[in-house]
């Protein structure tokens, strides 16, 4: 058993990070995917995670969305524990009720969009606000249409996902996640499954979010140019740890660690 007294019941004080990973461990059997990860993301910050496949990048986002359980440590969102809850003055693993309450702060977009195929674009966006937040339909519709407008999909709002291209589906998926008004948005390789010519329409939406909205964002991507452009900070993951992190200009322009240099030059050659 882990000694939970090392972890605070909540994070208080000035500049409480929006997301805080504290000594987070994730393993599948004997395979350690993330080893004592410490990572803070400030409110409004855009952090990009890069690294070779199998380095645990996607796992970071999936743990934060509570799609994966953690095996050690604590994740805090907005100062409150996400993976745990306090009981009798100590932290115990969260139950379903606690997860549902805390998960409301987080939204996620997936590599394969995962739109609900039996609903139109508009219905996909309205589903959460109506069924989860309990908004009146008219209000949910207004909110969803506004967001579909933002992502440039308002003219396709009555189409089912099967009638939309990958880039269009991903933009609807972004609107669907935003409709829940999350504080933190997670983008998990959202352009990896797209044809090259439509990548821009998705990255442009994310650029717009970064410049016009004060969302906290974590993004896993293989697009180094895009990461360099829009991130406040870039984390290079290697073997379940953050090997190097820093401002994009520093990390891409002047990587200090040998593995970072190797990775970046390998990526450059591939392009």
């Amino acid at each position: 058993m882990e000694d939970m007294s090392a972890f605070p019941l909540e994070i208080t004080g000035e500049d409480v990070p929006m997301v805080s990973f504290r000594k987070v461990r994730k393993a599948y059997g004997s395979l350690v995917v993330l080893d004592n990860l410490d990572l803070d993301v400030a409110a409004g910050e855009m952090v990009t995670i890069i690294g070779p496949s199998g380095s645990g990048k996607t796992t970071v986002l999936r743990m934060l969305m509570t799609l994966e359980q953690i095996n050690g440590g604590v994740i805090y969102v907005d100062g409150q524990p996400l993976t745990h809850m306090s009981k009798g003055g100590t932290l115990v693993p969260a139950n379903q009720r606690h997860l549902r309450k805390r998960r409301a702060d987080i939204g996620m977009c997936f590599q394969h969009f995962n739109l609900f195929p039996h609903m139109t674009a508009l219905e996909n966006c309205m589903e959460g606000p109506v069924q989860v937040l309990g908004l009146p339909k008219a209000e949910a519709r207004a909110r969803s249409e506004e967001l579909l407008e933002l992502v440039g999909m308002i003219d396709k709002k009555d189409q089912h996902p099967s009638r939309l291209s990958g880039g269009q589906q991903q933009r609807v998926a972004i609107a669907r996640a935003l409709a829940m008004r999350p504080k933190v948005m997670l983008f998990d390789e959202v352009t990896s499954a797209l044809d090259p010519e439509v990548i821009g329409e998705v990255t442009n939406v994310i650029r717009k979010l970064v410049s016009e909205h004060n969302l906290t964002m974590l993004m896993v991507t293989h697009q180094m140019g895009f990461a360099r452009d829009i991130s406040d900070r870039v984390c290079f993951f290697y073997d379940g740890k953050i090997e190097e992190q820093g401002k994009p200009a520093d990390l891409f322009g002047n990587p200090k660690r040998e593995r970072t240099q190797q990775f970046l030059s390998a990526v450059k050659e591939a392009v």
């Binding site: 969305m65 997936f110 739109l115 609900f116 039996h118 589903e127 099967s162 009638r163």
Partner: protein, 221 residues
């Protein structure tokens, strides 16, 4: 007696028999769907007692003969104080038997829904119950409709067994007419044709229409 003469004399009894067969079919089908859904979901439960109950039901009703089950429900249950009317015993037995097969179809249909759908529903913070009813089951339903079509034809044909506990369905009427007239070829030939028409020209087109309708709802067509 020509075939037409035969039909003109006996059509009222054939018609009431067919009516009972259709009623048995509908009641069996409705309860079978409900049982399938309930036990299919229970078999996927993480609660071991619930899961164990579902597995036991499926094993018993899938692993033994429908006719024996029918006799159990009609002749043996009264010995334990549960007496069902023969009409009720008929469709209950068929529904219980079909539900055991249907439960596996439901489970298979649910498992065939991509994992990403579960994750997307979780990411918008849906409760497990809403996720199942609004996101997973509608998609699972489309996956399992084609095998359900086969199962429904089995149900229709299975209803002939209720004649063995004296429910006055089409088969029962046919046997009665045969016993008094010995016109075996005519009467059993007519019964065959009626069962075939019900299955081939009513049930199958309906299931096809339902598949097309559901695909359209899913935006696939």
């Amino acid at each position: 007696m020509s075939f037409f003469e035969f039909v003109s004399v006996y059509w009222p009894r054939l018609l009431t028999g067919t009516g009972i067969t259709v009623a048995q079919f509908f009641l069996s089908a409705i309860f079978a769907v409900l049982l399938s859904l309930a036990f299919g979901l229970m078999k996927m439960s993480s609660n071991r007692a619930v899961k164990g109950f579902a597995v036991t039901y499926i094993e018993i009703f899938r692993g033994t003969s429908l006719l024996v089950q029918l006799y159990w429900i009609f002749f043996v249950l009264p010995l334990f104080g549960v007496t069902l009317e023969k009409f009720t015993a008929g469709y209950v037995a068929i529904a219980m038997n079909t539900g055991a097969y249907g439960a596996e179809l439901v489970r298979g249909g649910i498992l065939a829904v991509p994992k990403g759908q579960w994750e997307a529903a979780t990411a918008i913070n849906m409760s497990p119950a809403k996720r199942m009813w609004r996101i997973i089951l509608p998609q699972a339903l489309v996956n399992m409709l084609p095998p359900w079509g086969n199962l429904m034809i089995e149900v229709l044909k299975g209803t002939a067994l209720v004649s063995l506990i004296s429910v006055a369905d089409l088969m029962f009427q046919a046997k009665q007419i045969n016993a008094s007239t010995y016109l075996s070829a005519q009467i059993f030939g007519t019964a065959l044709i009626i069962y075939y028409i019900l299955a081939r020209f009513m049930l199958t087109p309906f299931m096809r229409w339902l598949e097309a309708f559901m695909s359209r709802k899913l935006g696939k067509a």
